[in-house]
């Protein structure tokens, strides 16, 4: 997957480029807004990572220009400004996601995957499937190995999010945003309890576990081990 990183701070850029390389991404890096805009316009990237504070052209203006030129590559904003209204500003400018510094690399990775995946699947789906777990989005029903599983509405939403991001690491922050629509870092293990309830329902009585815990990062729903 091709990623363009527009970040002027050398240290942060190094950290990200190295990490993404190791994770198997192809990364291009520029350190000012104008070059960033240029490259993004013709680069055919899968995802753009844009810092808000840039020389020449700031991040928000860059993305606005991009969107005005009908380039719809998903954009992840990085910023030292992490307040709610900064998020909103970023999203209004045309960004797709927003990550405050300092961030955990696993968080960045997880979100990049989610963004790239979003782009690749614009088709409206009626069914989701992971291994022998099936979800009918229209009838709002879940089955595993043919057996119906009874889920409460919130549990359904949670499972739906995990299934849509199947194979990817999903962080607690992402879950809080995607399922409950609130943006902050939950302190207690309030999310974990929801996950363990879900596990009771979809994993406990079955042979292979689908819902895995990734230490230090989050969770992942996948058929393999």
């Amino acid at each position: 997957m091709r990623v363009l990183l527009v970040e002027d701070d050398a240290r942060t850029a190094d950290y990200i480029v190295k990490g993404l390389h190791e994770a198997g991404f192809v990364v291009d890096h520029v350190d000012d807004g104008r070059s960033g805009l240029f490259q993004a316009m013709d680069g055919a990237y899968d995802v753009l990572i844009v810092d808000r504070m840039l020389p020449e052209l700031d991040g928000l203006a860059l993305v606005e220009a991009l969107r005005a030129a009908k380039v719809d590559t998903p954009v992840l904003f990085l910023s030292a400004l992490g307040q709610v209204d900064d998020r909103v500003k970023g999203l209004k400018a045309g960004g797709d996601d927003y990550l405050a510094k300092p961030f955990a690399f696993s968080e960045l990775h997880a979100r990049l995957d989610a963004l790239a995946r979003r782009r690749a699947a614009p088709v409206v789906q009626t069914r989701l499937q992971v291994g022998d777990l099936e979800m009918d989005l229209v009838a709002r029903r879940v089955r595993r190995a043919g057996q119906p599983i009874d889920l409460k509405p919130r549990e359904f939403k949670l499972l739906e999010y995990l299934m849509r991001h199947a194979g990817q690491v999903v962080t607690r922050t992402m879950l809080l945003e995607g399922v409950w629509d609130y943006h902050f870092d939950p302190q207690t293990n309030v999310i974990d309890v929801h996950i363990s309830r879900l596990r009771q329902k979809i994993d406990k009585d079955f042979a292979t576990p689908l819902l895995h815990t990734v230490r230090g990062a989050g969770y992942c729903l996948r058929a393999g081990a």
Binding site: V88, D185, V190, V193
Partner: protein, 454 residues
């Protein structure tokens, strides 16, 4: 005070300005009096001269030249006390009567008023004003009055006025200087007090002299400001101490574990230690983020981008999120909110505030227990409250507990950074809401009282 510095003070300048103005006014006044008086006297003299001319002309008409000469002689015989000056010359230019010499006749022009120095017939100089009249028969009559006395009087008056003027100026300026010294002394006192405080004596306060004048009010205001500064500084010191203390523990734990692991060198252990260190670092970051949020909120910034928030949805969401956790701890959590209640603010921040409160409730309430999240819009405010059946907070601690990093002794052993309630307080502040801690008998009830949307 050294002279040069004194000259630059506004007190001195004011005195100078006032003195100047005062002096000018006196000058104008005295000048006016002088001028008026002079005019009046001049007029009188002219009138007298006019009257004399009329009288003498009458004599001439009735009694002829001899009658006129007699009349003039009568007047001049009375002596210099009369003050009158006369000269009668015939058509041939010969002097006929009077006490002026011939030179005057030539000096005067017809019907003129002149104030040339004249000489009396006996040679003594005179000075006066005269009018010339031509009579029938070629005679010329000159009538005047000696103005030396007047001139002398005017001089005396001018002198007196000059003395008066300078005297007034001196007294005015002197008095002004004296008064301004008192003012300068007060200001100086305040300046010295401030310097003392800046040198480090923070408990020093300005002196009031009980007169309730502007300086006293200034001193009182400065004292109040100093009290506030002292309070804030103490607050900062306390917080900094708390921060240093409370953030040291996780860092120490992290370091100890890493040290131990490096020593052992075991690869698995290293990974474990790394993960633990990351967790501790995360919790430290969370603490710092919370501190930043609180600082921002306390800076008095109201909620940016405030929107209508549906309170019942908010409460449902938060109860939904915390439901499983509460259940696991053997607690029952319920939502009680009538539909359609809205407030103006930030959905995110209010959710976070409620989260913190519920977090606390879950942490401190023993099983079996109950937590209720309620919205009450019956009063003047929309009251969002979280109540529990835990041990509650003693009334004495209820204010302290809202400060940063405060953890009551009973909870020192449970995990937490002591910022939860501070953040709630900050969020309440941003929404211009009140925050109350009450006894739920049993348990604690925390109420965020939001203003109702109009």
């Amino acid at each position: 005070m050294p002279a040069r510095r004194f000259l630059r003070t506004s007190a001195f300048r004011l005195t100078l300005a006032y003195g100047g103005l005062f002096g000018l006014s006196i000058l104008v006044l005295l000048g006016f009096i002088y001028w008026n008086t002079s005019q009046s006297i001049s007029r009188t003299i002219d009138e007298t001269i006019g009257a004399e001319i009329d009288a003498l002309t009458q004599h001439y008409r009735l009694e002829g030249v001899s009658g006129l000469i007699a009349a003039i002689d009568q007047r001049t015989d009375r002596g210099p006390l009369n003050g009158g000056l006369y000269l009668l010359t015939g058509a041939d230019g010969r002097r006929l009567a009077g006490n002026l010499d011939l030179a005057a006749a030539t000096a005067a022009r017809r019907d003129d008023r002149l104030t040339l120095p004249l000489t009396a017939a006996d040679g003594t100089p005179a000075e006066g004003r005269a009018r010339r009249v031509d009579l029938a028969g070629g005679l010329t009559l000159l009538v005047g009055r000696d103005t030396r006395a007047l001139a002398h009087f005017q001089l005396l008056m001018a002198e007196a006025m000059a003395w008066a003027f300078f005297g007034a100026l001196l007294l005015g300026t002197g008095g002004g200087l004296l008064l301004s010294r008192r003012v300068l002394a007060r200001i100086d006192g305040i300046t010295r007090g401030a310097e003392r405080i800046m040198r480090g004596d923070l408990s020093h306060r300005m002196r009031l002299d009980g007169s309730s004048d502007e300086f006293d009010r200034l001193a009182a205001t400065l004292n109040a400001m100093l009290d506030e500064i002292e309070r804030l500084m103490t607050g900062i010191r306390t917080v900094t101490n708390n921060i240093a203390h409370d953030l040291r523990s996780p860092l120490t734990r992290m370091r100890t574990q890493l040290e131990r692991t490096i020593a052992s060198g075991d690869a698995d252990d290293l990974r474990e230690a790394g993960l633990h260190a990351m967790a501790e670092a995360d919790s430290l970051l969370a603490t710092f983020n919370a501190l930043l949020s609180i600082a921002e909120a306390e800076a008095g910034i109201p909620v940016a981008d405030a929107k209508p928030v549906d309170v019942s949805h908010l409460i449902e969401d938060v109860v939904d999120l915390y439901g499983p956790l509460a259940e696991d701890k053997g607690l029952e959590i319920t939502a009680a909110c009538p539909p359609g209640v809205t407030v103006h603010g930030s959905r995110e921040l209010l959710f976070q505030a409620l989260s913190n409160l519920i977090d606390n409730a879950i942490k401190y309430t023993p099983a079996p227990g109950a937590i209720t999240v309620r919205a009450d819009a019956t009063g003047a405010t929309v009251d969002l409250s979280v109540s529990d059946t835990g041990p509650g907070i003693p009334a004495a601690d209820r204010t302290r507990v809202l400060d940063r990093f405060v953890r009551l002794d009973t909870s020192r052993s449970t995990p937490g950074n002591g910022l939860g309630l501070s953040l709630v307080k900050a969020i309440a502040r941003m929404h211009r809401a009140g925050l109350r801690l009450e006894d739920a008998a049993p348990g604690l009830r925390v109420v965020i009282a939001l203003p109702k949307t109009a």
